[in-house]
Amino acid sequence: MTHAVEIRDLHKSFGALSVLRGIDFTVDPGQVVCVIGPSGSGKSTLLRCVNMLETPTSGKVVVNGAELTDPDCDIDACRRTVGMVFQQFNLFPHMTALQNVMIAQLRVLKRGKADAERIARENLEKVGVGDKADAYPAQLSGGQQQRVAIARALAMDPSLMLFDEPTSALDPELVGDVLAVMRKLAQDGMTMLVVTHEMAFARDVADHVVFMDGGVIVEEGPPDRVIGDPQHPRTRTFLKRVLDPTHAEVGGAPDVDAIHAGKDAPEPGRAAPSGFEHGA
């Protein structure tokens, strides 16, 4: 069986900064894989290597049987089968929602106008923003924009969807709409690779969870194990900080364990009076 995504010994550096340091993993068709990990651990870079928005320094990336790291690979053709959803939505601001979803169908897939419009409307409907077809991105809420962005990717009939923290830029009350769309996609059998900080989503929806730190995969497995019963101390520290942020230790290094607890917590106390001052 060919994997939907196969990554072998992937390295990526920006100049002297080594961001990915030997990543191996696979995603099978229909699987939902969530990538979690602290900020700066290289999650976005990994995802961007999967569709070659970043060129890996070394290693192999194979998507649907095509090796993207082969210099002779037609990247543009391969990208058509891989949808990507960004943290900042990246909708085209000079086009309406409908045009956003149509443009690549017209220019890349060379679909006819009527077909493209029908498919665009279907997908906008599917993500729950069918009534916003004629709105420009600036007229939409973040949650609506992100759903249009998902529709835009889906209209290309991708066999794999990449999500890079799709809800991180959203107001909390808008997160649910986007997650619901993603959950539905997963149920319909879409192969998904999702970078996220939404642990509840990862736990519910993912078939497989990858924990990254410092450019390597520290731990991976089914969500019940990686999130529910992490084995590695770095995973545990990370999850503790994410799941219970109010109890995170100040400047907590991964292996610090409750050293600074208790009396030594001046920051919140000191912030209070200055907040008063502004309020007065």
């Binding site: 928005l53 900042q88 990246n90 085209f92 000079h94 690549a104 890349v108 990717a153 007065a280």
Partner: protein
């Protein structure tokens, strides 16, 4: 930081010491002085200037009548033709040079850079003279459409360097995520440029490019240096020739106002556009 160090006299802060006048009184006095100066200057002007002279030489109705209809049918028309044709040439060249400047081919970047440095550094008049006289003399090259061709290319070249830099800034102002989104949908680099980046960049550069149109409008007066006929005359030459012949300033004033009739609305449009863009962000 404690509340007592806060400058303005808040409820808890100590009030600032009163040294003579309060800030409000000081501001009022300062305003009063400014109005007084303005008034004095105005009165002086009214007394000193011989208004009869002014009316006769600046707004002489007889002279105004003589200007029509040629000032519109010939001079204004030619000024507009020179300006618009040079603008079109400058726009097209500028866009091409800007894209070359951002090309991944090093030699293109180099050519574009040298081009911009040359035409930004040379006076427009000199470029116009080289195209109008220099090239025909040296190489026997003749521009199409006679003087209109010379002006379109000469002034267009001079304007294109500025426009190229403006386009480049506009293209670079389009967020990188836009290209990434386009590429992730399978668009090639050039397709993404044409469909996604350039349309957004054009919106960004509309105000500065409209300013460039105003500048070109004024620069079209340089055309008179090429030696023009009664049929190809533009506003400045028309107004000044008529004025000198009649020994009166009125034609020049009217020519000047003819420029303003176009440049002032353009300036207002630019400011409106800029305000709207600021709001849009």
């Amino acid at each position: 930081m404690s509340t007592t160090t806060v400058e303005p006299s808040g409820p808890a802060g100590t009030p600032p010491e009163r040294t003579g006048l309060s800030p409000r009184k000081r501001r009022r006095i300062s305003l009063g002085i400014q109005y007084a100066i303005g008034l004095v200057v105005l009165v002086a002007l009214v007394i000193v200037i011989d208004w009869g002279q002014v009316g006769e030489h600046f707004f002489d109705p007889d002279e105004i009548v003589k200007l029509f209809p040629n000032i519109f049918l010939i001079a204004m028309k030619n000024t507009v033709i020179y300006t618009v044709s040079a603008y079109v040439v400058g726009f097209a060249l500028g866009l091409v040079v800007a894209l070359m400047r951002l090309s991944s081919v090093k030699i293109y970047r180099w050519i574009a850079l040298v081009y911009v440095e040359i035409f930004r550094g040379l006076p427009a008049l000199l470029v116009l003279m080289i195209i109008g006289f220099g090239l025909p003399m040296a190489l026997g090259v003749q521009m199409p459409f006679d003087i209109y061709g010379k002006v379109a290319i000469g002034l267009g070249l001079a304007a294109s360097a500025y426009m190229a830099e403006t386009f480049r800034a506009g293209i670079e102002a389009v967020p990188k995520g836009q290209v990434e989104a386009a590429r992730s949908l399978g668009m090639s680099q050039s397709r993404a440029m044409v469909t996604i980046v350039v349309p957004q960049a054009l919106r960004i550069v509309i105000p500065p490019l409209t300013n460039e149109l105003v500048l070109l409008f004024k620069d079209s007066s340089l055309v008179s240096a090429l030696g023009i006929t009664a049929a190809t005359v533009e506003l400045t030459k028309f107004g000044s020739d008529m004025g000198i012949t009649a020994g009166d300033t009125t034609p020049m004033i009217v020519a000047g106002m003819s420029y303003l009739v176009i440049t002032v609305p353009l300036g207002i449009a630019v400011r409106k556009l800029e305000a709207r863009q600021r709001k849009g962000r």
